[in-house]
């Protein structure tokens, strides 16, 4: 433990002991009251120091320790009443408990104040404590209190800071009203915090919020009855209530720590569960054990030098913030994995560490699974890229044919026409020769056009799926009823997959099906293009035998689509395909 923490704890222990003895010796409190007040305070200081040690990065520990000290510093003058320094410190800390109380409760469990309203209220509370203490430090004398609410103490020392005499009763009455408003606003902020918290934060911070509500509610009742702060040392009932309210915060934190220890038994359950957990389910098991449904697991793949999800997709590790915390599993310098979770869980550091340690048992399988998934994803992406590259190449070839050979042949055709028109009657049979050449040229152009269309149909590139499918239907020797075809455009690989599927299917119908008609329906729901093609032929087609449909099924699978073919003998052939739109 750090020396500063040991010293803080030792000073707290010494103070509590001294005040306990002083209270009994001076007959200020009954033994039970003194034991409750200062025994509880000592336990609270011990707890504050422990929280501080466990979470040095969080403000909860130091704030809690400061709050408990602030609760007993005003009692210093009961023992050290002849010491001007003790009286001065006691007066300066008169209301310091108030802002620290609000600060601890509102900043829990992250250690940071959540919003503007919380920051403003806590800042105003610190101002309130200062404004409350200042007139006491300047004008108050225990020997001549001139404040109807303070008992006369003739042997007491004056504060070091006293400059003169002034009755500040009115100011303190006004500040009591301010404190009442603070208490009401504080309750409102607690309610809001409860509503906006995540489930994990709520479960962890609920005891502390309840303790905070108890403290604020206690003052509201006190003010409603007495119109001011009650002197709890002279009102036994209120002594127990006020002291309990002050100790409620550390008690709630202690309860939370005990709950955390109890929750560690869940780690034992986790170890057993991991034996049965199927690979790929580690994240869910960890989320259950830690009670944080938002928990994410980032697996480190050393071969790739990257973090991935359980399904192998890349994981962008967030920077730790007020909304997400990151806990490594394994050595912090070379973690096997990261848990990204609700920062409220940092209050359960031991549970986090134990859970991470238990998870290491299952991590290797999980990492292998993620590696496999990542490889599969790469293969899928690679297949899709190959299909797309093929389509791009087909479009380029078609365009090259169109711009190159086809244009030259067309130019020759026009030139032949010109030559024919300019031939005189004594052409010696040249007109017939030119007509023959023109006829050959037209045949070559037709063949070239068919070739280009087979490579990649221009109507698909330029007009989209619906016109291209209607063109296919018109050119089919078997009548095709196009019942539906989407007018919108889709990603080029998806359009090409649908087009070539229908084209190949219609070619098969024409060749083998002996069908009298085909019904074609192509629809899209925005995510998928669904193709249904049905003929009334003889059926009995075996997609595994022909390479055409098999190749098209591969093309569709490469795009993460699927295709099913039913072709019972005598019942025609039905093809159903679903292809992602993009």
């Amino acid at each position: 433990m750090r020396p500063a923490l040991v010293v803080t704890w030792a000073v707290g222990a010494a103070l509590c002991t001294t005040l306990f003895v002083g209270a009994l010796h001076g007959d200020w409190l009954s033994p039970a009251q003194a034991a409750y007040a200062y025994g509880g305070t000592f336990a609270a200081i011990t707890l504050g120091v422990l929280v501080w040690r466990r979470r040095p990065d969080s403000r909860t520990g130091p704030l809690l320790t400061a709050m408990v000290f602030a609760g007993i510093l005003p009692d210093l003058d009961t023992v050290f009443y002849r010491s001007a320094l003790a009286v001065t410190i006691g007066l300066a800390a008169t209301e310091l408990l108030i802002p620290l109380y609000g600060h601890v409760v509102l900043s829990y469990p992250t250690g940071r104040l959540g919003g503007r309203a919380e920051r403003v209220l806590v800042a105003l509370a610190y101002v309130y404590a200062a404004v409350y203490a200042l007139p006491l430090l300047l004008f108050y004398s225990p020997a001549q209190p001139h404040d109807q609410r303070v008992f006369e103490c003739l042997p007491c020392a004056d504060p070091l800071t006293r400059v003169g005499w002034y009755d500040v009763t009115g100011l303190r009455d006004a500040l009591d009203k301010v404190l009442f408003v603070f208490a009401v606003l504080f309750l409102g902020l607690l309610a809001r915090k409860l509503i906006v918290s995540t489930r994990t934060q709520r479960r962890i911070s609920l005891p502390l919020l309840a303790a905070g509500a108890f403290g604020a509610g206690e003052y509201i009742v006190q003010y409603s009855i007495f119109g001011t702060q009650v002197d709890s040392w002279h009102n036994e009932t209120w002594f127990w209530i006020v002291t309990s309210a002050n100790l409620a915060i550390p008690s709630a934190l202690a309860a939370g720590l005990l709950w955390g220890r109890a929750a560690r038994s869940g780690v034992a359950d986790l170890v057993l569960e991991l034996e049965r957990t199927p690979t790929g389910s580690l994240r869910a098991a960890l989320a259950r054990t830690l009670g944080d449904p938002s928990l994410e697991l980032a697996l480190w793949l050393p071969e790739r030098g990257t973090f991935v999800h359980g399904d192998g997709t890349p994981f962008g590790v967030p920077a730790p913030s007020a909304s997400r915390a990151v806990t490594p599993i394994g050595p912090a310098s070379e973690p096997l994995a990261l848990m990204v979770h609700d920062p409220a869980l940092l209050e359960r550091r031991a549970l986090l560490d134990a859970t991470g340690a238990a998870a290491r048992l299952a991590l290797e399988n999980e990492r292998l699974h993620a590696e496999l998934q990542a490889q599969l994803a790469e293969i899928r992406a690679s297949r899709a890229r190959i299909v797309e590259a093929g389509d791009v190449e087909r479009r380029r070839l078609e365009r090259d044919l169109h711009d190159g050979a086809q244009q030259r042949l067309l130019g020759i055709g026009l030139a032949l026409q010109l030559a024919r028109s300019q031939l005189g009657p004594d052409a010696n049979g040249a007109a017939e020769l030119l007509a023959e050449a023109d006829s050959e040229l037209r045949a070559a152009l037709d063949e070239l056009r068919e070739l280009a269309r087979g490579i990649h149909p221009a109507v698909l590139t330029e007009q989209g799926l619906a016109p291209a499918l209607r063109t296919l239907a018109e050119r089919s020797p078997v009548p095709v009823h196009v019942l539906d075809a989407p007018a919108e455009r889709f990603a080029a690989p998806s359009e090409a997959a649908v087009y070539f599927l229908v084209s190949e299917a219609l070619a098969n119908v024409a060749k083998h099906a002996r069908a009298s008609s085909v019904r074609l329906r192509v629809e899209s729901d925005g995510a998928t293009i669904a193709v249904d093609l049905e003929d009334d032929g003889i059926g009995g087609a075996d997609p595994e035998r022909g390479s055409g449909l098999r190749g098209l099924a591969d093309r569709i699978h490469a795009l993460d689509g699927r295709v099913t073919i039913r072709s019972d003998p005598g019942s025609g052939t039905t093809i159903h395909a679903e292809i992602p739109c993009a």
């Binding site: 244009q407 026009l414 037709d446 056009r449 109507v459 007009q463 209607r470 018109e474």
Partner: protein
């Protein structure tokens, strides 16, 4: 439609220079006066405004625009020319756009002659 030439005037729009050259000679041999050539949609509109042709022989696939779009722009001109679309592709390849265009008609480049153009243009 009024014009200053005794013979119909034509503007040839195509991005292939060889096609423009042969088409010009073919149309001129068939009785058209070719008043200009353009290689893309933007220059087609500019040339049409300058030369006020009776007929625009317009390729469907231009580098900067679709021939169907250019046909609609030409149809909106004050002195609206008769637009005949042409392409090395067949009418099948062009799909339903041919049904919706405000152009007078379509002639495949393979079937283009001065006579087929004159027949489609009809009486000016």
């Amino acid at each position: 439609m009024c014009h200053d030439h005794p013979m119909p005037t034509a503007l040839v729009v195509d991005d292939h220079p060889s096609f423009r050259r042969f088409a010009r000679r073919l149309l001129e041999a068939g009785g058209f006066v070719v008043v200009g050539e353009a290689e893309d949609g933007a220059s087609a509109l500019a040339r049409a405004r300058d030369t006020q042709p009776d007929v625009v022989l317009l390729d469907v696939l231009l580098p900067d625009a679709n021939g169907f779009e250019v046909a609609e722009l030409l149809a909106a001109e004050p002195r609206r020319p008769v637009v005949v679309l042409t392409s090395s592709r067949s009418a099948d390849d062009l799909g339903a756009s041919l049904d919706r265009t405000s152009a007078r008609g379509f002639i495949s480049k393979r079937d283009l002659t001065a006579e087929s153009l004159a027949t489609m243009v009809g009486e000016l």
